[in-house]
């Protein structure tokens, strides 16, 4: 299943927003963006008992309006709200009700729900882990990614599925976002930077370039 966030290689997006010179560019363009940023960091780290992969997973489950139309930090806000509702910290609709009340509407606000935080604590800080087993692949090995992924929490973008490339680097092992995001365990595993040609990704007519992307061990087929 593809998430709304899986944009790599998609067509129809038009030209890129031209860069604003750095000395004229604000980190937050409106005050609320900074508030939404800080609320997200605090809720994912301390309030909902969740983790960075869970936050990305929440982003990927937003509907298209909540992902695109509310702009970047609105997307963060929406993902935070989703995590807080799922953890039973706030009731569904509580944020909308308060916002409408603040705007002068007569609205009844839902009460505080029963907390339902995931039973979760990380085994270590951050996302990198030690793995005893030697990596299956070495630099220079030819590898092929799986063609199908089942979980909606997967981290294998559609444009690199079922493609063959070469291992450029063996990176430090990571927790596996697909399970970690859903509190099903860290499942630490090796991660490879894999180099693909553009023709492997898009066919013979593609613009000529190469691309490297980090691929989790679970997404690589057995050695040929």
């Amino acid at each position: 299943m593809d998430s709304v966030a899986d944009l790599g290689g998609a067509t129809g997006w038009g030209t890129v927003e031209p860069p604003t010179p750095q000395d004229k560019d604000a980190v937050f363009h409106e005050a609320w963006e900074g508030r939404a940023f800080a609320l997200t960091l605090l809720t994912m780290g301390r309030v909902s008992g969740q983790n960075l992969d869970a936050f990305r997973y929440a982003l990927g489950r937003l509907d298209s309006k909540s992902y695109f139309d509310d702009t970047y930090y609105g997307r963060w806000l929406n993902a935070s709200e989703l995590m807080l509702v799922e953890s039973g910290i706030i009731a569904p609709g509580a944020v909308d009700a308060r916002a409408r009340k603040n705007a002068g509407e007569s609205v009844e606000e839902p009460g505080v729900p029963e907390e339902n935080k995931p039973d979760y604590s990380a085994t270590a800080a951050g996302s990198l882990r030690q793995v005893e087993e030697a990596p299956r692949f070495a630099v220079g090995d030819t590898v092929t990614t799986v063609a199908d992924v089942e979980s909606d929490a997967n981290k294998l973008p559609a444009y690199v599925r079922g493609r063959t490339g070469v291992v450029e680097a063996v990176q430090p092992a990571h927790v596996f976002p697909e399970t970690h995001a859903r509190f099903l365990g860290e499942k630490p595993q090796h991660v490879y930077s894999v180099r693909f040609t553009s023709t492997e990704l898009y066919g013979d007519d593609a613009e000529k370039f190469e691309l490297t992307i980090e691929i989790f061990d679970d997404y690589l087929e057995e050695k040929a």
Partner: protein, 206 residues
């Protein structure tokens, strides 16, 4: 756990979508009045990324690499450790890999799945990096996208796109412009721009 928010949510009594600004204010109220979030801590987070952690850090790393060949070798071999020598570390910087742009290779960085970015050296990402058009297109037609952004890359230069799909964070070591070889680190730092450290700009001599 897979219940996405209802797309009909976030409407006011007249059926208009409530702005994220108003909903941010509402969420902050709901959490602070229960003591779950401290607005002063929020202020500190915002100030940190508005002032302390930004692309000036990355510029310092690059200026040192341009003027100190031994540092450059360490930076390309063990990016995270070499960057930490200058005091830069923290969230979104667990494992930073530095790649060098040369006469024959041009690296450019993206995160197609979200907006992963090396915060300790560049701060929070600019608007163009988060733009769906950039995320979608730079992994499909990078030379064209770079050209549209004002970064021409010669046909004889190989482009390598780096899609940050895990916790590896990429930093581009741009080419030092000709004629700046005698400048000090302090003189070089103001020339080094954020966009060049992601690979969508070249650096010009003063």
């Amino acid at each position: 756990m897979s219940t996405a928010l209802n797309p009909d949510e976030h409407l006011d009594g007249s059926g208009n979508r409530i702005s994220p600004a108003l909903r941010t204010e509402a969420l902050e109220q709901l959490l602070t009045e229960r003591g779950l979030v401290d607005p002063n801590v929020m202020d500190k987070f915002i100030a940190t990324y508005e002032t302390a952690v930004g692309p000036l850090n990355g510029a310092k790393v690059v200026a040192k690499a341009w003027t100190d060949p031994e540092y450059k070798a360490r930076l390309l071999a063990e990016g995270t450790a070499a960057i930490k020598e200058l005091g830069f570390a923290g969230p979104q910087g667990e494992h930073i890999v530095v790649v060098e742009n040369t006469d024959s290779v041009h690296n450019v960085v993206v995160c197609t799945l979200c907006s992963c970015y090396p915060w300790p050296v560049l701060g929070l990402p600019p608007a163009w990096y988060k733009d769906p058009a950039y995320r979608a297109r730079v992994v499909r037609e990078p030379r064209k996208v770079l050209s549209e952004m004002g970064c021409e890359v010669g046909d004889d230069v190989e482009i390598i796109v780096r899609d940050s799909s895990a916790e590896v964070r990429w930093l581009v070591l741009p080419q030092q412009p000709a004629g700046t070889e005698g400048l000090s680190e302090e003189e070089l730092i103001p020339l080094i721009t954020r966009d060049a450290l992601v690979g969508v700009a070249h650096i010009s001599a003063p």
